[in-house]
C-alpha cells in the first residue's frame, strides 16, 4: 500500500508540476507575444521616424475672402527607400489638438510658384484619403514621450491624406485657413502599423 501511495503521490506531483509549468509557460508566451508586437511597433516607429525628413521650404499668404496660407515642404526618405505616409493637420496642439481640413497640392512643373495655383496640381482627397477612427490615431501630445489616442481630444472619424514616396525627395504644398495657422497648427506625419496610425514627425505651421 505504501508503495502504491508513493507512486500515486509521485504521479500527482508530476502532474501538478506539469500543470504549473504549462501555466507558467503559457503566461510567458503570452507576455512574449505582447512584448514582441510592441517591440515590432516600437522598432518600426523608430526606424521610420529616423529615415523620414520633413522640412518647410516656403510659405505664402493667399489673399481672398477666406484668407489662407500655403506651405511648401519637402518630404524625403533618407535611405531613398519607398514609404507610405499619412498627413494630418492638428490645430490647438498645445491644449486640445483637433484635426482641421486642408488642401494638398504638388508641383505641376519643375519650377512652380506656390502663390499661383496654376503652377500646382491639386491632390484630390477623394482618392487618397483614408477613414480612421480617432481611437486608432496615436499622437504624441506636447510634453509627452508616450503615444496617446487622438480620441482623448477628438472622438470622431478623421481622414488623413495618404501619400506615397517612391524614394525621391518630393515637394508638397498644403493650403490651410489662416485661422488654423494662428491657432498653433502642426502638420503631423503618420505611418500605419496594424491598422493604427502613429505620429512620426511634425512640422509647425506658422
Amino acid at each position: 500500500m505504501k508503495g502504491q501511495a508513493s507512486v500515486l503521490t509521485m504521479i500527482i506531483m508530476t502532474a501538478l508540476a506539469l500543470v504549473i509549468s504549462l501555466a507558467i509557460w503559457n503566461l510567458f508566451m503570452s507576455t512574449a507575444s505582447i512584448q514582441s508586437e510592441q517591440a515590432l511597433t516600437v522598432s518600426t516607429l523608430a526606424r521610420e521616424s529616423a529615415r523620414i525628413s520633413v522640412v518647410e521650404l516656403s510659405s505664402v499668404k493667399v489673399n481672398s475672402s477666406n484668407p489662407k496660407y500655403r506651405f511648401a515642404f519637402q518630404i524625403s526618405t533618407l535611405d531613398y527607400q519607398p514609404v507610405t505616409l499619412y498627413l494630418m493637420i492638428l490645430h490647438s496642439v498645445t491644449t486640445s489638438p483637433k484635426p482641421t481640413s486642408f488642401t494638398l497640392y504638388e508641383l505641376a512643373s519643375p519650377s512652380a510658384d506656390i502663390a499661383d495655383t496654376s503652377t500646382l496640381i491639386l491632390i484630390s482627397n477623394s482618392t487618397v484619403n483614408e477613414k480612421a477612427n480617432s481611437d486608432n490615431v496615436m499622437i504624441r501630445p506636447v510634453n509627452s514621450n508616450e503615444y496617446a489616442p487622438l480620441s482623448i481630444y477628438y472622438d470622431a472619424t478623421i481622414m488623413p491624406y495618404r501619400i506615397f514616396l517612391p524614394g525621391e525627395p518630393k515637394c508638397y504644398i498644403i493650403e490651410v485657413s489662416a485661422d488654423a495657422v494662428s491657432d498653433y497648427a502642426q502638420l503631423v506625419i503618420l505611418i500605419k502599423i496594424n491598422s493604427k496610425y502613429y505620429q512620426i514627425a511634425t512640422l509647425p505651421l506658422s
Binding site: 510567458f28 525628413s53 511648401a72 525621391e168 525627395p169
Partner: protein
C-alpha cells in the same frame, strides 16, 4: 529488510529530481524565448537608434556654400560628406521666396545647358537629385529663371532636409563700391590696348600721305586752314635709346627755345624706375631750330620735301626758320645724366637752371612779347645732348607746301609722367605759341601785350596758329562693361590737369566785341564722360564740362594749373550692356572759315581758345541695383 526500506526512498528521490528537472526545463523553455525576444528588441532599438544617429550626423555634416553673382548660382560642397541637392527656392517679383524649383529637372530639361562649370558633380536620375561630392561645386546660369519672373535665389534644399539660405545681397551691401583698378592711358599704346578702343583714323600717325581726321588749325599767316603733320621721324631700329641728339654748341649740345614744353618721365620708366631715367619731352616752339640727329642705327623718314633737312653722311640736320613746330622726343636720356631746362620760374627776368626732377612739368613762355618791359621774360630753352628712341618733328602742312586741312590727333596727344607719381598723364594739347590776348592801351592788363608787333586790335594767336577739333575724340573703355540689369549707376572720377591759353579776366570774358577777351561762347564743352550702349554705340547718359567750369582750375599767365578730380555719377539703363567713354575736344575756332572772311572777330564762330587736358587716372565705381 534494509533493501525493502531503501527502494521507496530512492524512488521518491528520483521522481523529485525528474519533476524538478521538468519544471526547470519548462521554465527555461518559457524564459529563454522571452529573454531572446527582449535581447532582440533591444538590439533592434539600438540599431534603429544608431541608424537615426547616423542620419542626424550626416545631416549635421552637410556644409554647402551658395552665392549668386552676375546671374550665376554657385553651389559648393565645403563639408565632409556628399550632398544631394533636391530643390532651390527663388523669390518672385514681390520678393517673396515662393518659387520652388527642382534642381535636377532644371538642369536636365533646360536648353541650352545651364551648367556653366562643375566639379565632382553627379546627376542622380533615380532619386532626381544633384549630388555634389566633397570639394565639388556647380555653377549654373540662372538667366532663364530670372527671365521667367524669378528675382533672386533664396535657399538651397538638400535631400537630408537642410535648407541653406543663399546670402541675399541687401541694398546696403549691394551699394558697396566695386573699384576697378585705375585706368591709365598711354597715347603711344592706344591702338594696342585690348581694354580701350578708339577711332584709329583719329589716332593714326598724321603723315602727309595719310593725315587722318579730327583736328585742324589755321595757317600761320591766317589765310587758310591747314593741319599739323609729321615732317621728320627718326626712331631706333630696335626701340632702344640709340638715337643721338646733338647740336651746334661747343659741348655738342643744342638749345631749343620753346613757347611751351612738357617734360615727364617715360611711362614705362616711371613704372620700373631703373636707372638711367628716361624722359618724354614735347616742345612747341616758333623760333628757328637747329638740331642734329645721328643716322647710326636709326630709321629715318622725312615726309614732304626736305627743304628744312640737311642730309649729311652721319647726321640729319634739321634747320627750321621761324615757323610753328612741335617736337616729340621719346625716351630721352641726357648724356650728362642731367636733364637741364632754363626757365624764368619766378618771372623776375632771369633764367633759372632747372635740373632733372625740378625740370619736370608744364612750362609756358608765351614769349617775351607778352610781358611788359619791366618784367620781360627771357626766352626759355631746353638743353639737349643725349640719346632717345624716337624723335618726331611736326610742321604745318602749310609750311610744308601741302594743301591739307585736317589731321588726326597724333600731333596733339602725348604721354609722360609729368608729376612723377607713377601714373603717366595722357595729355591733349592744343596750346602752342601764346596766349590769346588782345592789344589795347585802355586795358592796364594789356601792358603785357605792349610789345606785340602784330598790329593793334588783333587777336594775337590768330596770326600764329590756332587749333580746333573737327571731331570729338572718344576713348572707349570697352574693357570695362557694366550690365544694366545689375548696376544702377556708375561713378566716374578723373584726375586731370587743365590749362588754357585764354587770358583770365572774368570781367572781359565773353566781351569779344571790344577785343579785350578771347572767346564769346564760354559754355562749350571741352571734356565729357559718356555711358555708351555696347550694342548700338548710342550714348545713353553723359556729363560734359564746359570751358567756364574748367577755367576756374587754372591761371593762364603767370601759368599755373591745379590737379583736380572731376566726378560724375551717371545712370545706367535697366537692361543692356554699357561701357564708359571719355571725350575730348577743342571746341573753339571750329568755325574758322567765318573769321577768315571776317577778321574783325565780330560774331559767332570767332572764338579762339587752346587747352591742355592731362588725364592721369580714371576710377570707376559701380552702384548695384537694390
Amino acid at each position: 529488510m534494509r533493501v525493502t526500506r531503501s527502494k521507496p526512498r530512492r524512488r521518491r528521490g528520483i521522481s523529485t529530481v525528474i519533476a524538478g528537472t521538468i519544471i526547470i526545463l519548462l521554465i527555461i523553455v518559457g524564459v529563454i524565448p522571452l529573454l531572446m525576444l527582449y535581447l532582440s528588441t533591444s538590439q533592434t532599438v539600438l540599431n534603429t537608434y544608431n541608424t537615426k544617429s547616423t542620419y542626424e550626423e550626416l545631416k549635421e555634416l552637410e556644409d554647402i556654400e551658395a552665392n549668386v553673382s552676375d546671374n550665376t548660382l554657385t553651389i559648393a560642397n565645403k563639408g565632409a560628406v556628399p550632398v544631394d541637392i533636391s530643390f532651390i527656392t527663388l523669390s518672385n517679383s514681390e520678393d517673396v521666396c515662393s518659387i520652388i524649383l527642382s534642381l535636377y529637372d532644371y538642369i536636365t530639361r533646360t536648353v541650352p545647358d545651364p551648367v556653366i562649370d562643375e566639379s565632382n558633380v553627379m546627376l542622380n536620375s533615380l532619386q532626381k537629385v544633384v549630388r555634389i561630392e566633397q570639394g565639388g561645386y556647380i555653377k549654373l546660369n540662372i538667366t532663364g529663371l530670372i527671365q521667367q519672373g524669378a528675382e533672386d535665389v533664396c535657399s538651397i534644399v538638400t535631400a537630408r532636409g537642410n535648407v541653406i539660405k543663399v546670402p541675399k545681397i541687401e541694398v546696403a551691401q549691394k551699394a558697396q563700391a566695386i573699384i576697378i583698378t585705375p585706368v591709365t592711358i598711354d597715347a603711344t599704346a592706344l591702338t594696342e590696348r585690348t581694354d580701350i578702343t578708339v577711332n584709329e583714323n583719329e589716332i593714326q600717325p598724321a603723315t602727309p600721305d595719310s593725315p587722318g581726321i579730327g583736328m585742324s588749325r589755321i595757317s600761320p599767316d591766317g589765310t587758310s586752314i591747314t593741319a599739323l603733320l609729321r615732317y621728320f621721324v627718326a626712331e631706333s631700329a630696335d626701340g632702344s635709346e640709340s638715337l643721338k641728339i646733338i647740336g651746334l654748341n661747343n659741348d655738342g649740345s643744342c638749345n631749343i627755345s620753346f613757347n611751351n614744353i612738357y617734360i615727364g618721365y617715360s611711362p614705362e620708366w616711371s613704372r620700373n624706375r631703373r636707372v638711367p631715367a628716361r624722359y618724354n619731352i614735347m616742345i612747341t616752339g616758333y623760333e628757328p631750330l637747329n638740331i642734329k640727329v645721328s643716322k647710326d642705327g636709326a630709321n629715318v623718314i622725312i615726309y614732304g620735301d626736305n627743304t628744312y633737312i640737311e642730309n649729311t653722311t652721319d647726321y640729319y640736320k634739321i634747320v627750321l626758320p621761324q615757323m610753328p613746330y612741335r617736337i616729340k622726343i621719346i625716351d630721352y636720356i641726357p648724356s650728362s645724366g642731367n636733364l637741364v631746362l632754363y626757365y624764368d620760374r619766378d618771372y623776375n627776368g632771369s633764367l633759372d637752371r632747372l635740373v632733372n626732377e625740378d625740370a619736370l612739368g608744364y612750362w609756358w613762355l608765351y614769349s617775351d612779347q607778352y610781358v611788359s618791359k619791366d618784367k620781360k621774360v627771357q626766352k626759355g630753352y631746353i638743353e639737349l645732348n643725349g640719346n632717345a628712341s624716337q624723335i618726331i618733328v611736326y610742321l604745318t602742312a602749310y609750311d610744308m607746301g601741302l594743301n591739307i586741312n585736317e589731321s588726326s590727333y597724333d600731333p596733339y596727344f602725348f604721354s609722360a609722367d609729368v608729376d612723377g607719381n607713377g601714373y603717366p598723364e595722357f595729355v591733349f594739347i592744343t596750346e602752342d605759341e601764346g596766349c590769346s590776348i588782345t592789344e589795347t592801351t585802355s586795358n592796364p592788363e594789356a601792358e603785357l601785350a605792349n610789345d606785340v608787333g602784330h598790329g593793334s586790335n588783333k587777336l594775337i594767336d590768330y596770326t600764329w596758329s590756332d587749333d580746333w577739333s573737327t571731331k570729338k575724340f572718344l576713348v572707349n573703355l570697352t574693357g570695362y562693361t557694366v550690365n544694366g540689369a545689375d548696376m544702377a549707376f556708375v561713378q566716374v572720377a578723373i584726375k586731370l590737369y587743365f590749362h588754357d591759353n585764354l587770358y583770365d579776366n572774368p570781367a572781359h570774358r565773353g566781351n569779344l566785341y571790344s577785343l579785350t577777351e578771347e572767346i564769346y561762347y564760354n559754355n562749350r564743352p571741352v571734356i565729357g564722360l559718356y555711358v555708351v550702349d555696347a550694342e548700338t554705340g548710342k550714348i545713353v547718359s553723359s556729363r560734359e564740362w564746359q570751358y567756364q567750369e574748367l577755367d576756374n582750375y587754372e591761371n593762364t599767365f603767370p601759368p599755373s594749373k591745379s590737379s583736380v578730380v572731376l566726378t560724375a555719377t551717371l545712370p545706367i539703363p535697366q537692361s543692356g550692356i554699357y561701357y564708359l567713354a571719355i571725350g575730348f575736344l577743342d571746341p573753339y575756332s571750329n568755325s574758322a572759315i567765318d573769321y577768315l572772311t571776317n577778321w574783325e572777330c565780330s560774331g559767332e564762330g570767332k572764338d579762339d581758345g587752346d587747352f591742355i587736358i592731362a588725364i592721369e587716372v580714371i576710377g570707376l565705381t559701380y552702384y548695384a541695383r537694390p
